[in-house]
């Protein structure tokens, strides 16, 4: 037992340090660091490059570690604060999350572009090769465990001392409570924020170096560390350093001690431990959602969400779109669209037609973002998992059906629908956990859920078919099997437009008006009598179902249900791309779905393999661009097109707007 507790303390100490870094940066900047995994990955690669004698500079590993943690990490934090993170403070939660996910995606891609694409599995941290250094009650303690626990203790005690016993700590705590008081006391609050990013990035790097021997150097390797530290941050309600630290520590200990009591195989044996970060979050959310004060705090975030740059950009966009002139431009758009849709399978060969057909399927998945984020305003990082659940459910029922007699007797179309329904029902369960509190909780819970699905569901042999994926088929419509790229092209296009039609219909209905109200002001929606929770839950589930159907369409084209194409790391890229294009814009989401497929294909056709991650870096950068364009790329382009149409129609783009004073007064949340 004691050996498991010690192992758990070492794992938990890593989680705890990482959780501390999350809380430190959130406290000072009100930005949750979704890019911490990417930062740790970059710093870990720097360490590997400096310390590795074969492919790098061959420095002493302790010197390399110190250089990375004390110098490179804080400088990276400062640099990112200077160019990006310092500009996020007053943006909407969705924009902040999108930018941070973009940064995560971009950092990982940039790291692999700089240091190499191939994962490195065997890496020693600064401690070197593991060895037993002493025993406690006959339990061996390794050098690695000892160093991790001692380092975490030093970081925790150091943090306590700095925050509670020094002037810097006093200023930091003061800045968290009141930025204005910090200004009045003669300190620039920007310095506090910058310092917190420097310190937070350094600690994240330290945790990253320590976890290296366990996970190696691969883009997804740091996901467990980040999910567990996020669980700690949720336990600490993002702001309580010590609750986050000890919550994450407890999670690590529980994960290791459970090994003693769980069977070595079966669902419980394989799924429970990776699910623990999610379960810890669920418990924390269920407890906090009963607390009136926490609910009120998250409501404040919702109020703040409509009082920011996003709303200003949106009203500029709407002012252009409400101009009475130039509405004919949509017909130009429809004509071009029809021409392109009909022309593509004629112009392109089977390979490219097939790619575009899969692009339609991905667009269906991306349209789920319109429901979940564009309509209900929910930040979901699990759309990819719902797509994956659709994939494995559809394939599983085709391969294991007993209802329809022999195997393979379930029509593929019906299987796709069942995949969507299973994904939708899963969405109900996840939604019940992630919706009661604010947008950040939803983002983190869905992130953890996506990781849970990766590790506890996709890995099961009945779904992964021992890594090769379950065979799946093409649908048969009116006796015709869609076994050519061209026929699947038309099928994908029809489904995509059917979903778009459904979403258009939703937007113009009472429900669409209700969601517009919920996004703008929950208190207004509530006092009009709308049940916000049920409405959002319904749309969240519907979004999950649409993603599930889209996912199973992808599997149908590929003839195999391969869950590894639907993992969380890829899901972050999807999210970045969807939000950057504009989650309210169906054209934008279609562009996102197409770009996701076509850009890597085009790059791989014309660029060397070592630049394979360049498209991903670009996807990250377009998400980061939301700092300047929070409503997304496509609405901006759409507005420019409409401006041109207005000019051609002889209309005026000049509008009278209320004064700045009036606007700012209207943005003050309701007082007492």
């Amino acid at each position: 037992m004691l050996s498991f507790v010690i192992a758990g303390l070492a794992v938990g100490a890593l989680y705890a340090m990482s959780a501390m870094a999350l809380v430190i940066t959130y406290n000072a900047s009100r930005v949750f660091n979704f890019a911490q995994g990417g930062m740790a990955f970059f710093l870990a690669y720097c360490f590997y490059f400096l310390s590795n004698s074969d492919t790098g500079l061959g420095w002493n590993s302790w010197l390399a570690a110190a250089f990375v943690v004390i110098l490179v990490g804080p400088l990276l934090g400062l640099f990112l604060w200077w160019v990006l993170l310092g500009k996020l403070g007053d943006l909407a939660p969705l924009t902040k999350v999108a930018v941070m996910i973009g940064l995560q995606v971009g950092l990982v891609a940039a790291t692999t572009l700089i240091f190499g694409h191939d994962p490195v599995y065997l890496v020693y941290g600064p401690v070197g090769e593991p060895s037993v250094i002493f025993s406690v009650f006959d339990v061996n303690v390794s050098n690695e465990q000892f160093i991790i626990i001692v380092t975490a203790a030093i970081v925790a005690l150091g943090g306590y001392w700095v925050l509670n016993k020094t002037m810097a700590g006093l200023i930091t705590r003061g800045s968290v409570d009141s930025e204005l008081m910090t200004v009045l006391s003669g300190t620039n609050p920007k310095f506090v924020v910058a310092a917190s990013w420097a310190v937070g990035t350094g600690i994240a790097g330290l945790a990253g170096l320590m976890v290296l021997p366990k996970v190696g150097l691969s883009p997804g390797g740091f996901a467990n560390l980040i999910a567990a530290s996020m669980a700690g941050a949720v336990i600490g309600k993002f702001t309580n350093l010590w609750r986050a630290f000890f919550g994450a520590l407890l999670l690590g200990v529980t994960q290791e001690v459970l090994v003693l009591y769980l069977p070595s195989d079966g669902l419980l044996g394989t799924a429970l431990r990776p699910s623990l970060p999610f379960l810890f979050m669920v418990i924390a959310v269920l407890i906090y959602s009963r607390n009136k004060d926490v609910r009120a705090d998250t409501q404040k975030v919702e109020v703040a969400a409509v009082s920011n740059k996003y709303e200003v950009s949106l009203s500029h966009y709407l002012t252009v779109m409400r101009n009475p002139k130039g509405h004919w431009d949509r017909y130009v758009g429809y004509a071009v669209l029809a021409l392109v849709m009909v022309g593509m399978p004629i112009v392109f060969n089977d390979y490219w037609t097939g790619l575009i057909a899969v692009g339609f399927c991905y667009t269906v998945v991306f349209l789920s973002f319109r429901l979940v984020t564009g309509e209900a305003g929910i930040i979901s990082l699990a759309q990819i998992s719902f797509a994956g659940i659709g994939v494995i459910s559809a394939a599983y029922i085709v391969n294991n059906d007993t209802v329809f007699g022999s195997k393979g007797s379930v029509p593929i179309l019906l299987a796709m629908l069942i995949g969507g329904i299973v994904a939708g029902l899963t969405g109900v369960v996840v939604g019940m956990v992630c919706l009661p509190l604010g947008p950040l909780y939803a983002a983190i819970v869905t992130f953890a859920f996506a990781l849970l699905v990766d590790q506890a569901v996709y890995t099961r042999d009945e779904f992964s078919n021992f890594g090769s994926g379950l065979p799946f088929g093409r649908p048969t419509i009116f006796g015709m099997t869609l076994d050519t790229p061209k026929s699947f092209y038309w099928f994908g296009m029809v489904v995509m437009f059917a979903v778009m039609f459904m979403l258009w219909s939703l937007r113009r209905s009472t429900t669409g008006l209700v969601f517009a109200t919920i996004r703008a002001s929950r208190v207004r929606a509530a006092t009009l009598g709308f049940d916000i929770f049920v409405a959002r839950l319904g749309v969240f589930a519907l979004g999950a179902a649409v993603a599930g159907v889209g996912g199973s369409m992808v599997a149908s084209f590929q003839l195999v249900a391969f869950p590894n194409g639907f993992i969380m790391v890829i899901g972050l890229v999807w999210f970045a791309l969807a939000v950057a294009q504009g989650t309210s814009s169906m054209g934008g989401l279609a562009a996102g779905g197409m770009t996701l497929l076509l850009m890597p294909a085009i790059f791989s056709e014309f660029l060397p393999e070592r630049l394979a991650d360049l498209p991903v870096l670009l996807f990250g950068l377009v998400a980061i661009n939301m700092v300047v364009d929070p409503i997304g790329i496509n609405p901006g382009l759409r507005a420019n097109f409409r401006r041109l149409a207005i000019k051609i129609s002889g209309g005026s783009l000049h509008t009278s707007e209320p004064s700045a004073d009036e606007k700012s007064e209207s943005n003050v949340p309701a007082g007492v």
Partner: protein
């Protein structure tokens, strides 16, 4: 909503604290159908907090709220809306994406949907997903909404979004939302702020006619005492979270306690 017959709104010993601040301390008041009941007091007296407790957007620490004989103290804002309550906000809570007309149509539909119950909301949601069956905005709705919009003096701005309105116009739109839900109890939080004298007088007439003609229970929080004394039947005065006096407008005009709360005292 239609089943509510007694729309008397009553607060009984309501107290609420925000941290160390006692925002309301055992405040009791009553508002009757067909009357305008005003709630006045200096800044920070707790007027909007009282409206928050009445509408369910704030949860009082002590005391009870009644609609007729029904205790709604722990009811959600949605449940109170289903009992024919609507409110405006001091800081307008409007939707950037919707025009003035769409706001009013939304509120009209909200009133109908809430009256029809939960199943109507669910069936509306499902129908919304089916193209051709989903309910776009009809000409009849546009006509009804426009009538209300013109009544409140927002006729020229019906196609504008809230960000293109002045603060006064936004407050008028808030009132329009209340009217459009066909509520029987209305809580109006400083509806005249930002309006000029003529607009304020017009608004006063609209509110007075509402109470009288439609037998609506109106609670009015207002800084414009001239408007309050002109249209209210009964006035409650708050100061530092305490109810310091209540009575008819004439009595309150003469009340020493009210004068002291507003003007302070001079030490001899």
């Amino acid at each position: 909503m239609s089943t509510i017959t007694n729309t008397t709104l009553r607060a009984d010993g309501v107290s609420i604290r925000f941290g160390g601040v006692q925002a309301l301390n055992k405040v009791s008041m009553e508002a009757n159908p067909g009357e305008i009941t005003a709630l006045i007091g200096p800044n920070g007296a707790g007027k909007s907090t009282m409206l928050g407790c009445m509408s369910g957007t704030l949860e009082q620490n002590e005391g009870s709220i009644f609609i007729g004989q029904s205790d709604v103290s722990t009811a959600s804002p949605q449940k109170r809306a289903a009992m024919a309550m609507a409110r405006t906000f001091q800081s307008p809570q409007l939707v950037t994406e919707l025009t003035v007309r769409e706001h009013v149509i939304l509120a009209m539909r909200a009133g109908k949907q809430v009256r029809a119950g939960k199943w109507a909301a669910i069936s509306n949601f499902l129908l919304a997903l089916i193209p051709f069956l989903s309910r776009g905005i009809s000409q009849a709705e546009i006509d009804l909404a426009d009538e209300l919009i013109v009544d409140l003096g927002l006729g020229k701005d019906r196609e504008k979004g809230p960000s293109d309105l002045t603060l006064g116009q936004r407050r008028l739109l808030e009132v329009a939302l209340c009217l459009a839900t066909d509520a029987k109890i209305m809580l109006l939080d400083e509806p005249s702020a930002g309006l000029d004298r003529a607009e304020t007088e017009h608004l006063g007439e609209v509110i007075k006619a509402l109470a009288k003609d439609r037998n609506i229970t109106i609670v009015l929080v207002e800084h414009d005492l001239e408007l309050v004394f002109a249209i209210s039947s009964r006035v409650f005065v708050l100061d530092f979270g305490q109810l310091i006096d209540s009575g008819t407008p004439a009595e309150m005009r003469a009340s020493k306690a009210v004068q002291t709360a507003y003007l302070g005292t001079v030490e001899e």
